[in-house]
């Protein structure tokens, strides 16, 4: 009896020890020192039917000689760029793996770059890879670059750790457009299927002898018809587009009041806009209702900005400036490029589902002729600390 209970105890112990083998999930163990952490990836066109995948890899460093590296003035030695060509992204990735002693790990990829040439031929198939791969995160941001992606990735930014950090931070400021993988995929399957991505180019370096010590920054927006890039707009027009898309977060508006010298600048603290579509007698119209709250940040006129009458006329003036900005951007995108990156199609679909379902095949013809009206309201809230 006693022997039996002892045997039982040992069997239980053996079972527990044995289960450890399974509990660790050893089939899929991933040691950090076996992984190649990809911080950013770029896609270039290599030849007619191949693309080149370039990745920015993080090089883990021991603590020892890190200081030497920094004092040598190099900085940025903690990353490297490797690339490989292939028919598809997945193919290129397999080729890339051949050149890397460690296993590719996508879990930390924050940035994807498409070169302009590739973007002009369509990005849908590449986005499919990004959305499908289980390691890739949907919050990664996507950019279109003027220079080859490989060149952009190999820059050594002076202020940040590497280029992926630079672009991620720039994207988060939302001064220009900021698009995540999820948002891009949503735009691609939206009613119009047209999309827009931030456009970046390399900032000319301060020191001609160190051409790599610079960054790439957002200078506008690449406009896509379906998944093919058809053109780009500059940063001023981009801000007009952001107003329509209700994505504006940070803006400084400078106005000149009539019959005065000097300028008044206001800083936007809150802005919201809404598209209200109407269809009357077969005429498709959109009203853009926007509301902003601003603070005065600079006043170089002799006007007293605490006088309500002055504030009133200032508000009207700001509304005028904002409307003009939006109008310029809208004309360019709607009349010239004929790409619905403004979200008009979705707005009509939401308000007039029945009409939309009948007419959606004609959207390409309807879109350039949609009439747009503005109802902009601006409120000045604070005058700053000095008046």
């Amino acid at each position: 009896m006693k022997l039996q209970s002892i045997i039982k105890k040992y069997l239980l112990l053996l079972f527990l020890v044995f289960s450890v083998v399974f509990l660790s999930g050893c089939w899929d163990r991933n040691e950090v020192n076996d992984l190649a952490l990809i911080m950013a990836a770029g896609f270039d066109k290599k030849s007619d039917n191949t693309i080149e995948l370039s990745v920015l890899l993080y090089i883990p460093k021991g603590g020892g000689n890190q200081q030497d590296m920094n004092s040598a003035g190099g900085g940025g030695y903690e990353t490297m760029v490797r690339s490989a060509a292939g028919i598809t992204v997945a193919d290129a990735m397999a080729r890339l793996q051949e050149k890397l002693p460690r296993q590719i790990f996508w879990g930390h990829t924050d940035i994807f770059l498409f070169n302009e040439k590739l973007a002009k031929e369509g990005i849908f198939e590449h986005v499919d890879f990004i959305m499908r791969h289980p390691q890739l995160r949907e919050r990664a941001q996507i950019f279109v670059s003027k220079q080859p992606a490989k060149e952009v990735l190999s820059l050594m930014p002076p202020l940040e750790r590497d280029l992926s950090e630079v672009l991620r931070e720039l994207g988060e400021h939302e001064i220009g457009m900021s698009i995540t993988t999820k948002e891009l995929a949503q735009m691609l399957i939206s009613d119009s299927g047209d999309c827009a991505l931030p456009w970046i180019q390399i900032l000319p370096p301060d020191d001609k002898n160190k051409p790599k010590r610079t960054i790439a920054y957002i200078t506008g927006t690449a406009v896509f018809k379906k998944d093919k890039m058809i053109g780009k707009i500059d940063d001023m027009l981009t801000r007009g587009i952001l107003w329509i898309r209700d994505e504006i977060r940070l803006a400084v508006v400078t106005v000149k009041l009539p019959q005065t010298k000097g300028y008044i600048s206001v800083n936007l603290s809150q802005a919201h806009s809404k598209l209200v579509p109407t269809i009357e007698n077969g005429k498709w119209k959109i009203t853009l209702k926007s509301e902003t709250y601003s603070d005065i940040v600079q006043n170089s006129t002799h006007l007293n900005v605490s006088d309500p009458a002055v504030v009133k006329s200032l508000e009207r003036q700001i509304e005028q400036v904002i409307n003009n900005r939006i109008e310029l951007a809208r004309k360019k995108v709607q009349k010239e490029m004929k790409a619905d990156i403004l979200g008009f199609a979705d707005a009509f679909h939401r308000y007039y589902p029945k009409v939309w379902n009948k007419e959606k095949k004609r959207w390409e013809e309807i879109f350039p002729d949609v009439e747009v009206k503005y109802e902009t309201k601006c409120k000045i809230r604070r005058q700053g600390l000095h008046s």
Binding site: W27, D28, P134, R139, K182, P353
Partner: protein, 375 residues
């Protein structure tokens, strides 16, 4: 009686919630979205009526035969031979469904994180853990539910709260663009999940307070509805029409969370929710099969059956489909009808027959003693 343990109605309601919702949370949003598009949040509401109905039916059956499970009273109602056939059908059905559930679990774990681990190991370890819980009997399952379910729900709510800043209300419109039909079509597959509430007919005999059992059963259905509606709204507001093309929308949603640059990469929370929820779900199904088999074969103990049945569940899990797409297609189309028909037609048929029989016998035996159908 095979099972001497007792559980409170609240315990039952608690573990019935993940027993229904655990697998539904990950797979149903995208299956529903394929039919219902932006109305996918309405579908669980339509589907929940099946849940209320099934809880009502099993409570009425339990009122007729207070101390018996569905396996036992089916023999009382339609006779020994046909009763046993119904029992065999039910048990084989649950064996298959548990296999499917186990496979859903395995597909998720291997598809989302353990890419190289063999399916048999992923499923096998889970079944082994569940078998320990089943061995403990219903009280252990009840207590496990009490510990796990509140944590799971809390984590789930946290995910929802962290996502609020990324949600866009406009994705919800236009509501009912093509009338009510798409959302009803979308509700077919959640209906099959709700019909799994018939499992409480295995549990009601061991619930201490039957009257509150009905009430808490209904509350459980309601909580599952709320959970599914919340999940669907979350996915819809975050992804819009993209929901249908994602395999595990909730997983992607959790991955999308990013608060102040450091609160990121939270998909492991979904993993924890999913695994602990599925643990409860598999355990409840596993328990029902084991107990039912023992009752069908008139054994004196159900424990010797646990490991053999666990092995069968493992095999059914491995054989139930070749890949996730097949599984998802099965659950969205023929599977829904298959699950619904067995879990609704059999209990309703039993209830009607039992009811008529009771009436007839009461009419016949007015001068005899009451309760003619007892044993």
């Amino acid at each position: 009686m095979l099972e001497r343990g007792k559980i409170s109605p609240v315990q039952m309601a608690l573990f019935m919630n993940p027993a229904i919702s655990a697998t539904a949370l990950l797979l149903v949003p995208s299956i529903t979205a394929k039919h219902a598009h932006q109305d996918l949040w309405l579908s669980p509401i339509w589907a929940s009526f099946i849940g209320y109905f099934i809880v009502f039916v099993s409570y009425q059956l339990n009122k007729l035969f207070p101390n018996q499970t569905i396996i036992e009273y089916s023999q009382q109602i339609v006779g020994k031979f046909f009763g046993k056939i119904i029992g065999v059908i039910l048990l084989l059905f649950y064996l298959h469904i548990t296999g499917v559930i186990v496979r859903e679990y395995g597909e998720f774990v291997s598809g989302a994180s353990l890419f190289h681990t063999p399916m048999a190991v992923i499923i096998g370890t889970m079944v082994l853990v569940c078998s320990l819980a089943v061995r403990g009997g219903i009280e252990v399952i009840g207590r496990a539910g009490e510990i796990i379910v509140p944590v799971v729900l809390l984590l789930y709510v946290i995910i929802f709260i962290l996502l609020i800043k990324d949600l866009e209300i406009k994705n919800m419109f236009p509501i009912m663009e093509k009338g009510i039909t798409p959302s009803l079509m979308g509700s077919v597959s959640p209906q099959s999940w709700f019909s799994e509430f018939i499992l409480i007919s295995f549990l009601l005999p061991y619930v201490t307070d039957r009257k509150r059992g009905m009430k808490w059963g209904m509350i459980s259905v309601f909580s599952v509805t709320v959970l599914l509606v919340l999940t669907n709204i979350m996915d819809l507001l975050l992804f819009g029409n993209m929901t249908a093309s994602l395999t595990y929308p909730v997983m992607v949603a959790a991955r999308y969370i990013s608060i102040a640059d450091f609160l990121e990469h939270l998909e492991s929370i979904v993993m924890a929710i999913w695994i602990s929820g599925t643990f409860i779900k598999i355990t409840v199904f596993y328990y029902a099969i084991t107990l039912g088999t023992a009752q069908l074969l008139k054994l004196s103990d159900f424990r010797p059956l646990i490991l053999p049945i666990g092995f069968l569940i493992l095999l059914f899990g491995l054989w139930s489909s070749n890949n996730l797409e097949e599984l998802s297609l099965f659950l969205g189309t023929s599977g829904a009808i298959y699950i619904l028909s067995i879990q609704i037609i059999i209990p309703v048929f039993l209830l009607l027959t039992g009811f008529i029989r009771n009436k007839v016998q009461q009419g016949k035996g007015n001068n005899e003693n009451e309760a003619p159908v007892n044993h």
